[in-house]
Amino acid sequence: MPDHTIIVGAGVAGLECARRLRRAGRGTVVLERTPWVGGGCATRSFEGQPVDVGPMFFHGQDPGFLAALGRVAGGTVLEAWPRRVQGGSPPCQPDALEPVSHRLAFAEGLNAFPRHLAADLDVRLQTTVTGIRPLEEGFEVTTGEGTVFRGRDLVLAMALEDTLALLATLPAGTGSASIQALLGMFSSVPSLTLIAGYPVGAHTPPWDLLLPESEVLQLIAHDSAKRVEPRFLTLVCQARPKWSRVRLEQPMVEWAPELLEAASAELGPWALRPIWTFPHRWRHARVDRSCELAQPVRIRFDHGQTLGLAGDVFTPGGGLQAAWRSGARLAESLLAG
């Protein structure tokens, strides 16, 4: 147990935190609910063709973050993607397209980055943490699969709402009440997403990213423009937060066609007839930018063990850069003692 840290959530924040702790010689284990690493930084494969499902590109200004992206082994970097942006609507992250931000993508999909971060880590996939409690000199984590993990420090690096749900399993009076109340004032933003595949050649949008002035669509990304010799033209349609929130609990068969219709209104009737579609429900796509904290949280318990919180809420700036920085900062803070 000495110096052993349990990290819950294999998103960019949790992986960067674990990577730094491990590099400094600490024992780490990362517990992840889904079958893959990366959290929101997700890429799916359709007949071998990668499609980004969450963020469409990396953007940021932090030299450390940009350097970390540069170290991804085997990643084919697409500098300054998206180059062709159309539409007058602001992007999800207001400064993403500013000239001061660096932008890039990977031909293999953005998920190459979290996979790279996870390369040397002990990550337990499909492991759902259901409860946490402080022990005499550490923490105990119980999972839905029946396994129990014990460590000295514990890091929660998940979506805000999932973090809150786990904090609620702590016994009363353990000192996290003010943090729970604070986080209770915050919320994440949902996004319903539809990926549509079309034959190559018939229609090719002249842009990489479309930001329509639509009440339904936040963006349409020309995902196949990122791929080498794509088999399909792939478009990723992401819905606006407000539109998404009211349809979040509806079955996909109800909202997916609506999203396609909205895309067709922008692109033409051909867009109504994809060869295949794939819907995805991002319940907690990203932090609401009015809900940002200055730094990762550390709650010290009676015997000096620390419960740390990381994720895009816990560093200003939003996006994958904020998630990465929060994980990095929390790790440095834990290592400093």
């Binding site: 003010s178 004032m185 949280v297």
Partner: protein, 244 residues
């Protein structure tokens, strides 16, 4: 226009192309960009506007008398507090701290108030109000305040040090009840010749400080049961109270 105005305006000209390594780990660099007269109810001042390379905040110096090149210039650092400074909030003592500084300096031969636009000491107004909301629910907000960004003074000192350097003060007498501030400023090359305690005159709103046993933790509950936040990086000392 007096000689003093000419001297201050010359600083605007001097700083037009100013670039330096910057102060502190953030390499904060500031330039004096505009100077004007500012007669106020607290005395005759000049207001000096600064640009900085780190954020979009326009920090200012409120200058009384001839300060350029002088030793022992009485100087006060104040962090912006909209609720206290402007609205007269009684959740903090910022208004009293600012007014007292301006009045005292206005009565002296010379002096400077640095008004740092770091609302709630960098926390931002919305987050400061979130901290208030937590207090309203009776929560102890130590960790929450940290998360909200409540105690990150390093940049304040770097900015303040560069501002004092730009104003060309030979040395300062720092008006503070926080002796740590002296060392912090000295780290950035500011010559601090002495410290002047910053004593607030007692009034109906701060009298409870005299009647509460002063605690080093700085935890004070006022007569209406409201905890006062130490929003300046400087403990409140009301005249007649033993210094912390």
């Amino acid at each position: 226009m007096s000689i003093m105005d000419d001297k201050l305006n010359a600083l605007v000209e001097r700083d037009r192309e100013h670039e330096c390594q910057g102060f502190g780990t953030d390499h904060v660099c500031v330039r004096i960009v505009a100077v004007a007269k500012l007669p106020s109810r607290f005395g005759d001042f000049r207001i000096v506007a600064f640009w900085n390379n780190r954020d979009q905040k326009d920090h200012i110096a409120i200058v009384h008398g001839d300060v350029i090149g002088f030793e022992d210039v009485p100087t006060r650092m104040h962090s912006e507090c909209l609720t206290g400074d402007v609205i007269g909030s009684l959740r903090c003592d910022c208004r009293d701290q600012l007014e007292t500084a301006l009045k005292r300096i206005g009565e002296l031969e010379r002096g400077v108030v640095l008004y740092l636009r770091q609302e709630g000491r960098g926390i931002g107004l919305a987050n400061k109000i979130r901290a208030y909301a937590l207090q309203d629910r009776g929560l102890d907000t130590v960790e929450a305040n940290l998360a909200l960004g409540f105690r990150d003074d390093e940049r304040d000192y770097a900015v303040a040090a560069h501002m004092l350097h730009s104003l060309g003060l030979a040395s300062v007498q720092l008006m503070t009840n926080n002796p740590d501030k002296i060392g912090q400023l000295q780290q950035y090359g500011v010559k601090v010749s002495s410290r002047l305690p910053h004593l607030l005159p007692p009034n109906a709103h701060n009298r409870f400080y005299l009647e509460t046993k002063a605690k080093r933790s700085g935890h004070f509950i006022d007569f209406s049961g409201m905890p006062h936040l130490q929003e300046q990086s400087d403990p409140v000392v009301v005249d007649g109270m033993s210094e912390l």
